[in-house]
Symmetry: D3
Subunit: 234 residues, 6 copies
């Protein structure tokens, strides 16, 4: 099985960790290739950035079938280009937000999303409506900091603080880490919430969860419905 992870932005700071995490969770025998589209915004911190990321991303999607990939993961929490990408190919395409939210909905009465830039809070709320699990969305909170300027320790601490608010004020029972830059936070955050507060809640990793979801689709020979995602006329 060969999976193409498309990181639709220029910064390469997450490359190593994304690849490491994806491989850690992937089944034996799954080949993981991470790519950045040629045309891409520097980073993604607004719907404006999301929009600019899509055409380059779709080029990478369009070539994936011929390159022998079995599935595509768009590794960005706003799921940019997910719907057009699904029109474009027959192999399964998953985003980051959708699989995380579905797993959150499965494991708890309500889940919260902890994202990083404030501009993406409303986008995450909108995605919950489109995924169809918005009734289980407790809240979307954001760290309100430049994630890249923080060390891992501070990143965990800030995420922890918002997570506690999500649980205590918004009644969340599960947490979705709503930015791929939070990819080493899930395990230590889960542990810290139990140890300090006794909150044994699932914390869903924004790289691992989509990788497993995509792998499952491939094994099950499932892909997006072509009645929803019709092939675009050329």
């Amino acid at each position: 099985m060969k999976i193409k992870i498309i990181m639709p932005f220029q910064i390469t700071i997450l490359d190593e960790a994304t690849e490491r995490t994806a491989k850690e969770y992937a089944s034996e025998g799954t080949e993981i290739i991470c790519v950045h589209p040629e045309k891409a915004p520097k980073k993604i911190a607004s719907q404006y950035d999301e929009a600019l990321a899509v055409p380059g991303l779709l080029e990478e999607v369009g070539t994936a079938e011929n390159e022998g990939f079995d599935g595509i993961l768009i590794s960005c929490f706003g799921d940019p280009g997910l719907k057009p990408a699904r029109e474009l190919v027959h192999i399964p395409v998953v985003g980051t937000c959708e699989p995380c939210m579905l797993i959150g909905a499965a494991l708890a009465q309500r889940f919260a999303v902890i994202t990083v830039p404030p501009n993406l809070v409303c986008l995450a709320e909108d995605l919950a409506k489109l995924v169809g699990v918005h009734e289980k969305l407790a809240s979307v909170r954001h760290l309100g900091v430049e994630a890249y300027t923080l060390g891992t320790k501070e990143l965990i601490q800030r995420t922890y603080e918002e997570s506690v608010k999500a649980i205590e004020q918004d009644r969340a029972h599960a947490l979705v880490l709503g930015c791929t830059c939070l990819l080493d936070v899930a395990i230590p955050l889960h542990k810290k919430l139990i140890e300090t507060k006794g909150y044994d809640v699932p914390v869903i990793d924004p790289v691992g969860a989509p990788v497993k979801f995509l792998e499952s689709l491939i094994v099950l020979r499932l892909s997006q419905s072509k009645l929803t995602y019709m092939e675009p006329e050329k």
Copy 2:
């Protein structure tokens, strides 16, 4: 008042009628400028086309304030780039679908959308969820034909047929014409539904309704919320 209508595609077949309709409905003293972005797909018949239309469209949005415009209308029923466009500027930006659906929700218990390409049915359903009026959406129907290949008479006839189904089978009480290529259909369709069936239902024009909605916002000095549509970091 100066309004920029952005038609985010290359074909110019709708230019004359869009401008004529917009001016017909606009208030005296409103200046209407229709533009096509430099970079644009030929036409828009899928989410793939929508996605490719956005970057060029956003360039036209980005220059509008300096060009002295008071508001922007994205003249395409899929509302491509509406959200990033609203992040980008302070003057009001409206799409085509959103104002039409809101007016449909105001005037009837339920409204149907009659669109043209089948690929855009699910998109219209999704937009209804994001606009927040999906509980009043009776159905989205499509003509399933190449609108451009039809004369006006056939276009009215085909729209009439789907409208009758929307009323009789889906219990719609108002009709939103869900493609800017249907822009000369509203008045004759309304008349035909009354005369043949006695159905006196509002038929909402996809150019006129957004123009009036945008004009109203400008007069009321209202624009998109900057808490929802935060300025993107440059």
Copy 3:
């Protein structure tokens, strides 16, 4: 174009400001006539008052077509008699709450209503359900004071206080002024929220927004659906 504004209560304290505001926002050439029904409660501060206002209001509605009006605005935030009024005539009838809420839904992720009497909070919530935009209603707050006893300055201050709570506690991104007595508050409130808190949110005026909405319908030759609002048997 000739618009009849029906103020379904006896007090005349709002007459001058309503007419001034309506004319300020109306297009050139729009004639505005404000009337009080002959039979009306003193003021409207409960659903009981709303109910008593309706028969007199409907008399004013019933004569409007013969009087040459092109549209009717019921100028009271509870939209009393809106549905029967729409049955009664073919010219468009709009309320106050409905257009304001639709514009709020268009411009922001969520809007709050700031009303005056506590008795009308639940009514505004109910109207949001009937309009169909309740999923975008953040909250309904009330001033809890006799608006008429306050000077404009205090009225703005009290509205400002509830607006800040609506934004910070209820996550509203737009504000609907939910009482026609708040008609000079929108512009100064908008300014004060930006200056003191940096909150650039739309503040929707309960006279101006309905006037523009109604004017748009008239220009677009749209009216309420006669499948929803069937003519009553005489």
Copy 4:
């Protein structure tokens, strides 16, 4: 226990049957008084009629406490004046639609309403939203005839026909008889649906169900919440 049934219309054709039915279902010792308000429309077949019925109805509500009544039933399926009536008094006030819908929601996955005049279909849909059980509303169907012109046998037959459609086409599992003029239909209709089709579904009577619901509230010493229905200022 003393119950006031207000029939907010002039026609007296239902008086005998309403009183008979109410007494048949009422507990021993419950006193039932049926009244018509002094001011009332001839009959109720539109929202216009509903609106005109309210002021006279509220006068009958307003005097009920002093007259020693323990509860009030507004006997008209559109629940005219229910909310202002509840503001006006402390004794429980129930409508006709609300208790019927709640019982329908309790007994089946989905219920349909069979009403008589077409103008009241949308009203019944709106009431379902306000009652809060609209997700269990399968459909509202109407007989489309002048009920009063039919004999009981034809009335049952027409109601039966719409009921079968509601079950087979709209997947209703229970039926609410949505007009007080259908008050002798429930038992024979229930029997006929079982005998002809094997459909053993609850058929809810528009006089009996509200009477029992109101009696229960009185016994339980429950009444409308005064936080929802605040006393109107005099």
Copy 5:
């Protein structure tokens, strides 16, 4: 009329009060029999307990018709076994939560549930979705104490504290006592809320309300729909 109240647990501490309350609210001539199933968990404080309670409970349900009962009340707020019980018999079966929530929805804009064990909060939320009134559910709060260890006075005080929070923080306008162990709390709590806070809100008793609801169904000759609750194959 003969009603079987099934208390699906072993503890007998509630027997006397349940029977007393049921009889107090029941109509004259209604015979009330309270039983514990032979096989039952000690008490019910989790979904695990609920599940274990069901088979024994269903045995008591299954014999009820032959024993001459006219209706069955499952006296436990989690409504354990309600759906299979309704499949099993033709006489009406009601739970505790469902009638209480429906009455709460009838009397107020929003109601809160005050339950006792924390494990049942999510269950009550789920039941609201299945009953279909979840849009009127303000919140579910729990006392977080061993109810049986408290005297009546402390029980009222703790319920009062959560009720005030439900009203002031969650905007509840009615209260459902969400555990049969709270059965002597309704009247004094209602009084205390008025006297201390001026909150005149309905407080719904978890034994009385279901008893009256069931009695009403029996009188109205109504039972669960056999299209929803089909007879199980033997």
Copy 6:
């Protein structure tokens, strides 16, 4: 990784195929053990059967952790005992319906469930509400036959017929096979829908999809939230 599949019924007719399918989809190194609880109903064709299955099932759940299992799959589409099972253990427990519906929601605008016994239609609808994806549920259809009496060929044919209705009448874009007895139907049905009708829609297998979903949770070290599924008091 060691997974316990609990088949909560006595019939063993599905054993071989369940184990074969589970192993076919499982990752290399995943050990699959299928068990029937000691106490179980013969088969599951009603909510009554579901209820009786739970206590025996919970015994198998309760011992799983000590037996060294990493996760539990309840292999029955009604998800009997899912919630109490999740209270009982810390290893992840999944049902059959929930993962299938979540995958259906991910891949299409709307999905339909094709189940076998008519009694389980409403149960599947209820589960969609609890899972939180009911807005994406197009319909639940049933074969209305004794699945066990059919050969595979007829089973595929009957499922095909209902699938075509689900797509053409209910606008489903994906299909969930809503009974574990349909476990060899997914691949041939998918093929037949493409070949005969051109409908390229995902068909979700009721054994394979839950197995992969559970495996993913185990790899991701995720389990049910202990704030939703609190440990029952012993």
